[in-house]
């Protein structure tokens, strides 16, 4: 499938060559585990927002990647989306984890869909819409994915600002008392000793 396998540094070079200054960050990390300490490669790339799709196109030109998931964080002023791929799967010890991150200002939370390039992305894009309030422009299926139908509009569980889950929606288990209508427990309650609360 692949003609030539690039080293991690060469992949970073490819991105820097194509996007120059618009590559805000590019780090190659290795993780060694087990007794033989074989290295596993992780490549972290952060691009300017408008270069997301060209970036993924570049990745597809290197080798068709497997999109695992899009992760997202609320960073305060911005929302970061991390597109996590694996590249060169099928090569023994040769796979790279490649992540392409973009940051969107909260004033304009729009990102183009990548489902025209990778159809499997629809699922995770739908999740980002409902969980982070990001608008995925051009998504073929804009419905909710995991949140129930009666979940209020404008509440985004992963946000850490006023659009996050309000306290009124949280039910703490320790605050929930035993329901009154339920039959009495089969075992008699133990005698309370002095000083033990409730």
């Amino acid at each position: 499938m692949t003609v030539q396998i690039l080293r991690p540094e060469e992949i970073v070079e490819r991105f820097r060559g194509a996007f120059g200054e618009n590559v805000l960050e590019a780090i190659v990390k290795e993780r060694k585990e087990g007794a033989r300490k074989n290295p596993a490669t992780n490549i972290w790339i952060r691009l300017k927002q408008e270069y997301l799709k060209p970036g993924i196109q570049t990745l597809i030109e290197i080798s068709f990647p497997h999109l695992s998931v899009i992760a997202g964080s609320d960073l305060g002023e911005e929302v970061e989306l991390v597109y996590i791929f694996s590249l060169y799967y099928g090569v023994r010890h040769g796979e790279y984890m490649v992540s392409i991150a973009v940051r969107l200002p909260k004033s304009d939370l729009r990102i183009p869909t990548i489902s025209d390039l990778i159809p499997g992305a629809v699922f995770t894009e739908r999740e980002k819409q409902e969980m982070l309030g990001v608008e995925v422009v051009g998504i073929p299926d804009p419905r909710r994915l995991f949140l129930p139908e009666d979940f209020p509009e404008g509440v985004y569980p992963w946000r850490k600002d006023e659009t996050g889950i309000p306290d009124s929606m949280i039910k703490n288990l320790w605050q929930v008392k035993r329901p009154k209508e339920r039959a009495a427990p089969p075992v008699e309650a133990k005698e309370k000793k002095g000083g033990v609360q409730e």
Partner: protein, 411 residues
């Protein structure tokens, strides 16, 4: 739930689901049927979304490890392993090699029990209940050994940030080896029973086909991807834990059967052969078990304060029985992680259902839906709308249809 379409018109709309209290992960299906044939499929997961990521973002990593144990009842170690690996990378700590081996052994035992459970469910959907009983009976051996090692049958609680909570001692080796021998002896018999059975072959060959191109484009993972000819296995491709030390190759159907069709049958073959592969991996682990501690830091206050200092982002991956599990964690020097994203394997695989089910018959729905080994069994309650009349079908009803089809085919 909007089922769409006017009553009494072709295609019929058949909703299946969404909730049954006995299931872990209910899902709502809407089938557009033309007679017996599925024209299109839509589904809505998340009928009982628990917000576990939200909960995790308010807890410290040591607490989350125990939360990850409870994400799935079958992938008991997969999620905690992936999460722990992500946090360890952020903290920049090395897990002792022996802990990597213990993790691998438990993860492979989990694969054996999960694949056997699935194999049993699959033949049950076809109406082959004697084989279902056999598969579930032999599964008990791996459950017993998991309990022997970890102390628990389901929520193992073995993985901790920086290692594992229990070592496997020399005295325990013979019991584990006995389990391996048990499965080695069974392997041929199981393979023969599943693969040479005429009715299994009739019901599964060329049903629920997912082509290689579709599998790549839809980003499916694990045995579902491998059965479609996509050579992809995190254990082989991306060395982690003890897998980097193992001599393993992804299990591909063309290596066993000489061809890849990407159907339900191929998915059964891949999983059955992977049981044998897991046995060999555990054997290799036991043979080369390194000495040393199993925790990076055994004192919890020290571990917690190290977790608290960590800052950065990392991805922890693991090949769970159903395919790649991925945890993305971002920490910023606080007690709780800033971001925690869990990607289970079914998350990637569900999207292949509409492709597999298109053009199949209603009686084939149970086995095709089950063939990706989803963390759910969708077909528990079916409502068929015909001419505005709503008939509610039970899970038993749908399974009965599937069983009848097997009988018909057998003549």
């Amino acid at each position: 739930m909007n089922t769409g379409g006017k009553p009494g018109t072709v295609p019929y709309t058949v909703p299946i689901g969404p909730v049954h209290p006995a299931l872990k992960e209910p899902v709502m299906f809407t089938f557009k049927m033309n007679g017996e044939v599925v024209e299109s499929v839509d589904f809505a997961p998340g009928q009982t979304h628990r917000g576990i990521e939200w909960m995790g973002m308010r807890r410290n990593p040591v607490q989350i490890v125990h939360l990850t144990d409870r994400i799935c009842g079958i992938c008991g170690v997969s999620h905690s392993l992936a999460f722990a690996r992500a946090v360890e990378q952020i903290m920049g700590i090395d897990v002792p090699a022996r802990a990597d081996y213990v993790r691998t052994i438990v993860a492979e035992l989990e694969r054996i029990q999960s694949h056997l459970l699935w194999a049993g469910v699959a033949v049950h959907e076809l109406g082959f209940d004697s084989l279902f009983y056999l598969a579930w009976r032999v599964r008990e051996e791996s459950m017993d050994v998991i309990e022997y090692i970890t102390g628990n049958r389901v929520n193992y609680g073995i993985v901790q940030i920086g290692g594992v909570r229990r070592d496997i001692t020399e005295e325990q080796y013979p019991r584990i080896k006995r389990c391996l021998t048990y499965y080695r002896d069974l392997q041929d018999k199981l393979f023969h029973l599943f693969m040479n059975d005429a009715s299994i072959r009739m019901r599964c060959r060329d049903h629920g086909v997912l082509s290689r191109e579709e599998a790549i484009k839809l980003c499916v993972v694990g045995p579902t991807a491998r059965a479609s000819g996509v050579k992809m296995d995190v254990r082989v491709d991306y060395p982690y834990s003890a897998y980097g030390d193992m001599e393993i190759e992804p299990v591909m159907p063309d290596a066993i059967l000489g061809e890849t069709r990407g159907d339900v049958y191929d998915r059964i073959v891949v999983r059955l052969v992977e049981i044998g592969q897991s046995v060999e991996i555990i054997q290799q682990c036991l043979d080369h078990m390194p000495d040393g501690p199993v925790m990076w830091e055994s004192k919890y206050p020290k571990l917690l304060s190290a977790c608290k200092k960590a800052a950065g982002e990392a991805v922890g991956r693991h090949e769970a029985p159903r395919g790649e599990v991925l945890h993305y964690v971002r920490m910023d020097g606080q007690e709780a992680p800033a971001t925690w994203k869990v990607k289970g394997s079914s998350y990637s695989n569900l999207i292949s259902w509409p492709v597999m089910l298109k053009g199949e018959q209603i009686a084939d729905i149970p086995i095709i839906v089950a063939s990706i080994d989803p963390c759910l069994s969708c077909t528990d309650r079916v409502a068929v709308i015909r001419g505005g009349r709503r008939e509610v079908m039970t899970k038993e009803e749908l399974t009965r249809l599937s069983i009848e089809k097997t009988r018909r085919l057998k003549g």
